[in-house]
Amino acid sequence: MENAFGQPQNVVVLGGSSDIARSITKKLCAARTHTVVLAGRNQDLLDAAASEAQEYGATKTDTVLFNAEDPGNAARAVTESFDKVGAHVDLVIIAVGLLGEQTEIEDNADEVARMITVNFTWPAAALAEIRHRLIAQGGGRILVISSVAAIRIRRSMYLYGGAKAGLDRMCIGLADSLEGTGVTMQILRPGVVRSKMTAGSSQKEIPFTTGVNEVAENVMKGLSSDELVIWSPPILRYVFAVLRHLPAKLWKFIADR
């Protein structure tokens, strides 16, 4: 069960081997989390993340394999993860995503479909299963990792930004629909984060780029609040309040830089 400070004890992380997810998991375990089930597509990476969680204080860890390119397995992956926790699940983190190099895939219908599936369709399918399981158990939290790329979409990343925008907007509605169920939902919108996901990208380092540790710090603060959206760094809330209303010409000029 979660305690009075919003510190969860039992956590499921979908996309558990991503750098942001690992960093959040470490901080959760250092506080109160003792049971962690990490789900992802690479067993070695999941095992490494699990042993890292134990170093930081988890007493029970387990892993679940799934491939986010197939939304047909989302319900199974969620069910297995909940079963492996074997108790009240306090927090589910969805950290599933794929950045990719847009110029290499934008002319390929299959690749575009894959991009949207991993970033939007699979998480949406997983949320259907998570939603009814958490409602049935009388409460719980969901944290979905979105991106500032979803707020105003850059032409150089319209596929990733578009998919995240779909997920982000859907989650805002989902959060509203959860009122009165005991289940709460929060959306994390990080700026550019130095991680293995962005390492190969041709995007240059833009202002307000942070490390994963800072993102995890902001998540810890956000989880103890009742804010629907957690921005990282927090100043991006105000930066994007301006950017989202810029005239198109000006936006394209800035976004291309």
Binding site: M1, E2, N3, A4, F5, Q7, Q9, A31, R32, H34, T59, G86, A87, H88, A136, Q137, G138, G139, G180, T181, G182, K221, S224, D226
Partner: protein, 444 residues
């Protein structure tokens, strides 16, 4: 079935459950037979999560009423859902008072047993459970009348057992005689912690009731300045006019949730200052009404809303006399952290009772009220856990909303003894709560 959000008095960690209102023992039996995850709930005055079970079934005991005849020697049988307030309304005019009362009258008899509550007289009279003559307990394997003589293991596991052994349907209680509705109170102000603790060690045994309120926000030489109030029931011969009036309901109430953050380090510091200075330096034999003296928390209805939406936590621990220094260390840690904390309650505990999960052990207890919000607070309280554990002390389940499961066995070394009794009457662990899950009290 519709579900309701339930939370404790601290208004943290809400969870949703189906709420049933059994009006008879048969209803309770049926509820325990038909459902897998069940816990009883009284007036919701526990601060954290013991009277809720996320996704399960919560049995409100309020329809299990009925105040029996008070016998000539002060024994009375009450429905489990009767509150101390409702009992006193009948008993005070007849010259009887409850043997133990917490700082509020708004607790049910069953809740008082399940949390084995204590009051200002613990140093002499022990906790609530000591004064219970018999309990009627519905468990998943049958209904039992238990007492210190009849199945004492189940009786004492239920006293302080946080509702995990069964659903109490009635309580037989030994009351105490009073001649008046007044308490004669001595008040003293102390400029630091050491002096007030010395005074309590010295003279507490001369008073039936004693409690000190400590300011945990002053640093330096005045750290832990305190006001000590001690009293005894006024006899008819002590007063010019003798009355035996039932307590009145509060006129003041908090109509809306205050903004979170209203109670911050600055405002709490000012409150503590005003409160300290408004107390008399030294006063003897001041007559106070029973409710003024015993139930200061009942003066303002819904006062917990002052803490805003984020709510607050209580932290109460006890340590034996050999570790009195832990009290000093805890207040030092708190006052140096800058975390706002309302006046703390400091008290001496007398003998423990046989309950394996009963909280009090002889020595000292300190209770703190802390608004949720400051980033440092979770860590500060984790540090206090370590101090308390090192001193062989424990924290009180009825107040807790944030402890982790790893420290529970060390704090309550007789947990396995408790579980053995629980599993005798509840082999499938049907009785569970958010508290039990959080602290792994029930096991899975």
């Amino acid at each position: 079935m519709t579900r309701h959000a339930l939370y404790g008095w601290g208004r943290t960690t809400p969870s949703f459950a189906t709420v049933l209102n059994p009006a008879s023992e048969e209803d309770v039996v049926a509820a325990l037979t038909q459902n897998r995850e069940v816990i009883a709930r009284g007036l919701g005055r526990s601060y954290g999560d013991p009277a809720q079970v996320s996704g399960g079934v919560v049995l409100s005991n309020r329809a299990l009423g009925g105040v029996g005849e008070i016998s000539s020697d002060g024994v009375v049988t009450l429905g489990a859902g009767v509150s101390i307030d409702e009992l006193l309304a009948v008993s005070i005019p007849a010259g009887w008072f409850v043997p133990v009362t917490p700082g509020t009258r708004q607790v049910t008899l069953a809740g008082a047993v399940a949390a084995d509550v204590h009051g200002k007289n613990h140093h002499l009279d022990g906790s609530f459970g000591v004064h219970v003559r018999q309990l009627r307990l519905v468990t998943p394997t049958g209904t039992f009348d238990v007492s210190p003589e009849r199945d004492p293991e189940l009786f004492w596991a239920t006293v302080g057992g946080m509702g995990l052994t069964g659903v109490i349907t009635s309580v037989t209680l030994q009351m105490i005689r009073i001649e008046t509705d007044q308490v004669l109170v001595d008040t003293e102000r102390f400029s630091n912690l050491e002096s007030v603790m010395g005074a309590m060690l010295d003279k507490d045994h001369e008073y039936r009731y004693s409690v000190a309120w400590v300011d945990c926000m002053t640093k330096g030489a005045h750290m832990g300045r305190a006001i000590l109030t001690r009293g005894r029931h006024a006899l008819a011969s002590d007063l010019d006019a003798v009355t035996l009036a039932a307590p009145r309901s509060p006129k003041l109430f908090v109509p809306i949730d205050a903004p979170s953050g209203l109670l911050n380090a600055a405002s709490v510091r000012i409150f503590n200052e005003v409160w300290f200075r408004s107390a008399p330096k030294h006063q003897e034999n001041e007559p106070q009404s029973l409710s003024t003296f015993f139930h200061p928390l009942d003066g303002v209805r819904d006062w917990n809303r002052l803490y805003g939406r984020r709510g607050f936590v209580q932290y109460q621990f006890c340590v034996d006399d050999a570790h009195a220094n832990t009290v000093v260390e805890a207040i030092t840690r708190l006052s140096s952290s800058g975390v706002p904390s309302f006046l703390a309650v400091l008290k001496r505990f007398g003998a423990a009772n046989p309950g394996p999960l009963s909280f009090p052990v002889p020595g000292w207890t300190l209770a703190l009220d802390l608004p949720v919000g400051p980033r440092a607070l979770p860590r500060v309280l984790d540090d206090l856990d370590e101090m308390v554990l090192e001193a062989g002390g424990r924290i009180y389940f009825a107040k807790d909303a944030r402890l982790g499961p790893d420290k529970v066995r060390a704090m309550y070394p007789r947990l396995d003894e408790f579980l053995a009794v629980k599993h005798r009457v509840d082999p499938e662990d049907r009785l569970t709560s958010d508290l039990a899950r959080r602290l792994d009290l029930v096991g899975s």
